[in-house]
């Protein structure tokens, strides 16, 4: 009744026994048997990734600062996860779609989205500050896992239209527990949708540790239950990520069906600025992960390989400073709040009932503005 040895058979679907790793913690190249059969990515691409990671880290630091200044309602930091977020974007073409979560603002910036627009949601200006169609980036998704079926539907639709399009959907370790994760992976497999699901397993869902989230050997082991090929990778190793994710995107693009990739990483900061992280995890654990910092690891490797010069490093730092300098004054401007804007785009055309409500709110605001004068 079952053909366990067909090309979707068990052996081909399970991930590597341990996470694919190209770099040691010190940025040295690991032995071949840790590479899981993947190729070392070209050095230029890695240098670009390094550059983007530096920019991402600075951006992230600035965003955290902005919360202290009250310029952001809240900020979930990407610190420590830059390799995942940058590699996840770097392997995409312009025509591909990205489906990020609230955590993935560094991915947005890497995608080329104006950082001020990228911070729209967290600034409280609008729910999504950028144009998803123009940027081929879905709005950052807050309800856990719910964007995954969107990615599947969009990728399937594109394939139906004969478009060369891959969807890259990010999700957290916590997000894998939601029913929508399951339904999305199953739909992807049944409809053969060109999607890469990238689980950023940062070992916490707010305070809930991985051990409370899953008893599976790895989250990548979930793939086989859908007939989806899966892989696990060291999420703080940008080289391994580039190797695995570009292979995944290529395979998916070629029509070999969806893939699930788990990146083992760590959330260096609190869940958000509002989260008292010391309540639930030891500083010593964080310290261990400082050692595995993805940025330093890649820098060491590239320098040793002669692919990164002091000038390159300075150029990256400089680009990062420029970005921050560009965004800072713009973030210090109070966004314009137009009461009527709330009523736009609820429907293509407002209903009679909405027009009444809009008129009321606008009249109130006008009155208040009059009083203020």
């Amino acid at each position: 009744m079952v053909a366990p040895t067909d090309e979707r058979g068990p052996r081909g679907l399970l991930p590597s026994v341990s996470p694919v790793r190209f770099l040691t913690v010190d940025g040295e190249l690991t032995e071949l048997d840790e590479h899981g059969g993947y190729q070392l990515p070209p050095a230029e691409r890695l240098a670009t990734v390094y550059h983007q990671m530096v920019v991402g880290r600075h951006f992230d630091t600035e965003a955290t600062n902005l919360t202290k200044l009250g310029r952001l309602a809240v900020y979930p930091s990407s610190r420590g996860q830059e390799a995942c977020q940058v590699a996840g974007v770097a392997v995409l073409g312009a025509q591909d779609w990205l489906f990020p979560t609230y955590r993935d603002t560094v991915a947005l910036v890497t995608r080329g989205i104006d950082p001020v627009e990228a911070l729209g949601l967290l600034r409280g200006d609008w729910h999504c500050g950028y144009d998803p169609v123009a940027t081929r980036t879905a709005p950052q998704c807050t309800p856990l896992g719910t964007h995954l079926p969107h990615a599947v539907g969009l990728a399937y639709a594109a394939r139906r239209r004969g478009e060369d399009l891959v969807a890259m959907a990010f999700v957290g370790d916590g997000g894998t527990s939601e029913g929508d994760f399951h339904e999305a992976l199953n739909f992807a497999a049944v409809f053969d949708a060109p999607v890469v699901f990238l689980v950023q397993n940062n070992r916490y869902a707010i305070s809930v540790p991985l051990s409370r989230q899953s008893a599976a050997p790895s989250l990548a082991h979930k793939g086989i239950g859908y007939g989806i090929r899966s892989e696990q990778v060291d999420g703080n190793d940008a080289v391994a990520l580039m190797a695995v994710l570009s292979a995944a995107v290529e395979s998916v693009r070629s029509g070999a069906g969806p893939m699930l990739v788990e990146a083992h990483t760590y959330r260096m900061e609190a869940h958000t600025n509002a989260d008292p992280v010391d309540r639930y995890r030891d500083a010593s654990e964080v310290a261990e992960w400082v050692e595995r910092d993805p940025l330093r690891r890649l820098e060491r490797y590239l320098r040793a390989a002669g692919e990164l010069s002091d000038a390159d490093v300075q150029a990256a730092e400089h680009a990062a400073e420029e970005l921050v300098t560009w965004m800072r004054p713009r973030m210090n401007v109070d966004p314009v709040v137009d009461p009527a804007a709330m009523f736009e785009h609820v429907y293509a055309e407002p209903t009679a009932q909405l027009i009444d409500q809009r008129d009321m709110v606008v009249a109130e605001a006008d009155l208040l503005a009059g009083e203020d004068r």
Partner: protein
């Protein structure tokens, strides 16, 4: 030729699919089987498995998948097999379908239709007879449409598929096999225009979907008491045709809202609240409701006791503060 509501819906889907290649139909059993109510009968045959297809059994997945397809240029029409089996999709509907246009300031629109067979009266076992329209009507960003006639089934479904906004299209199961001799296609005004199903001057009945025939029967029966009752068929709950209701009640001075959904915090309450506000000085009596009981929908042998009935409607009409009933006044 006699057409049932199921056939009219089927024809509407077929015509919409012929008119626009981007219309796709999917859900549980909508393919070869043609849906458990046969609303999608033979669409897979005519349009192929690419345009009408079965999915795994996962309503949240179906809805999310439709969102994704709509984001890439399709106009999905999805079927939830029964009212209460749409509940697993509630998060997708409330947090995404209803909000995507607004969240993205119009950059992403969702021209999708969620078809939901709803309501009781067909002897269904538990979880097969819920009237869930009030939940959807309460979520801004959704349109909520429901036909009461064969003609409207066609016309409203076509309009819903054409609409740029997501529409929850609620199909009254009880009326699936109701019939009409009108030839299709027929097109009525778009979404948001109510219909005077029966003109009258003494009382206004406001009804929709499965309750319209009950309202009409009750209005007919009330002629025995000399009462001339107007019946408004709302057709769409969102947008709502306030003007039509207001004009009627200002004429009649009395209003009864009829709805199968649980009474408490249901859509009927909204209709009552609006009427008493907009027609306060015309009202000769409080606006009353005949709605579903506030109990879980009962088993088949009990459902006649649950559903708004002609007798129950007439009892409520009697409570409309008549000094003397019109026929006695003659």
């Amino acid at each position: 030729m006699t057409t049932t509501m199921v056939q009219a819906l089927n024809t509407a889907l077929r015509d919409a699919m012929r008119a626009d290649e981007s219309v796709v139909v999917f859900g549980e059993d909508v393919g070869v089987l043609g849906g458990v109510f046969r609303v999608t009968d033979s669409l897979a045959d005519e349009f192929g498995a690419d345009r009408c297809f079965d999915t795994p059994l996962a309503e949240s997945g179906i809805t999310g998948f439709a969102i994704g397809m709509a984001m890439r240029g399709f106009r999905p029409v999805i079927e939830m097999q029964f009212d209460s089996f749409a509940y697993p999709a509630f998060e997708q509907v409330a947090s995404h379908v209803a909000k995507l246009r607004n969240r993205t300031r119009g950059a992403l629109e969702l021209p999708m239709v969620i078809r939901i067979p709803y309501g009781g009266g067909i002897g269904g076992v538990e979880h097969h007879s819920d009237s869930s329209e009030s939940h959807y009507a309460h979520l801004p960003g959704l349109k909520v449409v429901t036909p009461a006639t064969v003609e409207d089934a066609y016309s409203l479904l076509r309009s819903s598929i054409d609409d740029p906004d997501p529409v929850v299209f609620m199909e009254p199961k009880k009326l699936y096999w109701s019939k009409s001799d009108t030839a299709l296609p027929v097109r009525a005004p778009g979404l948001g225009a109510a219909r005077i199903a029966r003109p009258g001057g003494d009382v206004t009945f406001v009804a929709y979907g499965p309750s319209v025939p009950v309202a009409l029967d009750a209005a007919e029966a009330a002629t025995e008491q000399g009462l001339d009752i107007e019946v408004i068929d709302l057709r769409s709950l969102v947008p709502l045709d306030d003007a039509a209701i207001e004009a009627s009640v200002n004429r009649t001075g009395r209003c009864v809202v009829i709805s199968e959904a649980h009474s408490f915090a249901g859509i009927a309450a909204e209709l009552v609240a609006r009427v008493q506000q907009r027609c306060f000085y015309s009202l000769q009596a409080p606006v009353l409701r005949v709605a579903g009981l506030d109990i879980p929908y009962p088993p088949p042998l009990y459902e006649h006791l649950y559903l708004p009935s002609v007798d129950r409607v007439l009892d409520v009409v009697d409570q409309l503060e008549w000094d003397e009933l019109p026929n006695r006044a003659v």
